[in-house]
């Protein structure tokens, strides 16, 4: 008798989770309703906390170009994450924020990489677990409403965690992925994973050839 109740409860819970999972998957990619002014008429809508995942070199340059045209009062506060081994990218982001000279706040964080170039596959398992735990910790602290990323491997676990947060009802976020301008014919591994998993709300590519191969992507022209 008790056993039957337990099984029934288990099935009910599983059904609930799967339903929620499918609902989140269905809602992903659907645009939001127009945002209303936050209080009295005429004032700007509530800003959205934004996580920006920076890659290295060319990736960062593309992201900075995008950030320089996004309205700072809508995307605030801004949290920047870069790989722990990459100091240049955060420096560039800091420079951008200093030039912006806005009252809206921004924070800069570093994340462990799952794998450094040339690292053995055996130790990679351990470092990947550490990187995942660190990513989860950062995501719990930030709980962003918007995630912007453009290619580095570090963005994949963060996007997966963001999706799980949606399923669990911790935080609803919108994820935007811009494939690097260096990708003309084929997506990067990060891009391919995020496209196939369907956890990105909008997927942008910078060359028309890619849009033909990946029809759910939006072709937006070159950012550089």
């Amino acid at each position: 008798m008790g056993c039957a109740v337990a099984i029934t409860l288990l099935i009910a819970a599983a059904t609930l989770i799967i339903t929620r999972f499918l609902y989140v998957l269905h809602r992903t990619g659907k645009p939001h309703k127009p945002r209303k002014p936050s209080s009295s008429k005429g004032s700007a809508p509530q800003p959205l906390s934004t996580l920006i995942v920076l890659g290295s070199g060319g990736h960062t340059a593309e992201m900075i170009n995008l950030l320089s045209v996004l309205q700072k009062d809508r995307f605030a506060p801004r949290f920047y994450i870069a790989a722990a081994t990459d100091n240049m990218s955060l420096q560039k982001a800091r420079l951008l924020e200093e030039n912006a000279d806005e009252s809206s706040s921004s924070q800069f964080m570093q994340i462990y990489r799952s794998r450094e170039v040339g690292q053995s596959y055996f130790t990679s398992v351990l470092t990947t677990l550490i990187a995942l735990a660190h990513g989860l910790w950062l995501m719990i602290r930030i709980r962003p409403q918007v995630i912007l990323c453009n290619g580095p491997g570090t963005c994949v676990p963060l996007c997966v965690i963001a999706f799980l947060f949606k399923v669990a009802g911790i935080r609803w976020s919108s994820v935007f992925y811009v494939e690097s301008i260096a990708r003309v014919q084929r997506l990067s591994l990060s891009g391919l994973l995020l496209y196939k998993l369907r956890i990105v709300d909008q997927f942008f590519v910078q060359w028309p050839q890619l849009q033909k191969k990946y029809p759910r992507a939006h072709y937006v022209g070159c950012l550089m």
Partner: protein, 178 residues
């Protein structure tokens, strides 16, 4: 001041950049007699090489008997200034370096590093070469590229624009268009 300034102006510098890592095959290629000869034929007088962490050291030359004056350094925080001062840029295939050079309106030859495991970098150079924004080749073919290039046929690159992406992101989130 007068004399040295005239000297600098008369110089036509070829700036070679390998980026943040190393690309010995490129440094070795520009250091060959064939490539230097072709560059000299085209009126270039000086070769300045940013060699990164590479182990191949090019042979320094003052000019004089040599077709080209050759100088090199490993890294510099003022790559932008070297690009600006150059008459021709020979670069690795990284997107940062490519677009920085194109934005300055400098003629550019991109050399693809075939030793890289994930050689997606050639995609961008190929596409931009098809659109006549730059020339591209491999270390072994560099002297042919220099010999055959016609800089007047290059099409200036118009820098891209992130506003279409920003617009789509704003619309998706329900923000009104400006």
């Amino acid at each position: 001041m007068g004399d040295s300034e005239v000297d600098v102006k008369a110089q036509k510098t070829v700036f070679v950049t390998v980026g943040t890592t190393s690309f010995d095959a490129l440094v070795r290629a520009v250091d060959t007699h064939e490539v230097k000869e072709e560059l000299s034929k085209r009126g270039y007088t000086r070769l300045l090489i940013q060699m990164g962490r590479g182990s191949y050291i090019p042979t320094k030359a003052e000019g004089g008997d040599e077709p080209l004056a050759v100088d090199y350094f490993t890294f510099s925080s003022s790559i932008a200034e070297h690009l600006r001062a150059a008459s021709l840029v020979i670069s690795h295939a990284g997107s940062g370096s490519i677009f920085e050079t194109l934005r300055l309106g400098k003629p550019l030859i991109v050399v693809v590093n075939e030793d890289l495991m994930d050689n997606h970098q050639s995609e961008l150079a190929e596409e931009l070469a098809d659109r006549k924004h730059l020339y591209y080749g491999r270390p072994q073919t560099l002297h042919h590229v220099v010999a055959d290039m016609n800089l007047d046929s290059l099409v200036p690159y118009h820098p891209g624009d992130a506003t279409p992406v920003a617009k789509l992101i704003n619309r998706f989130l329900g923000f009104a268009d400006d």
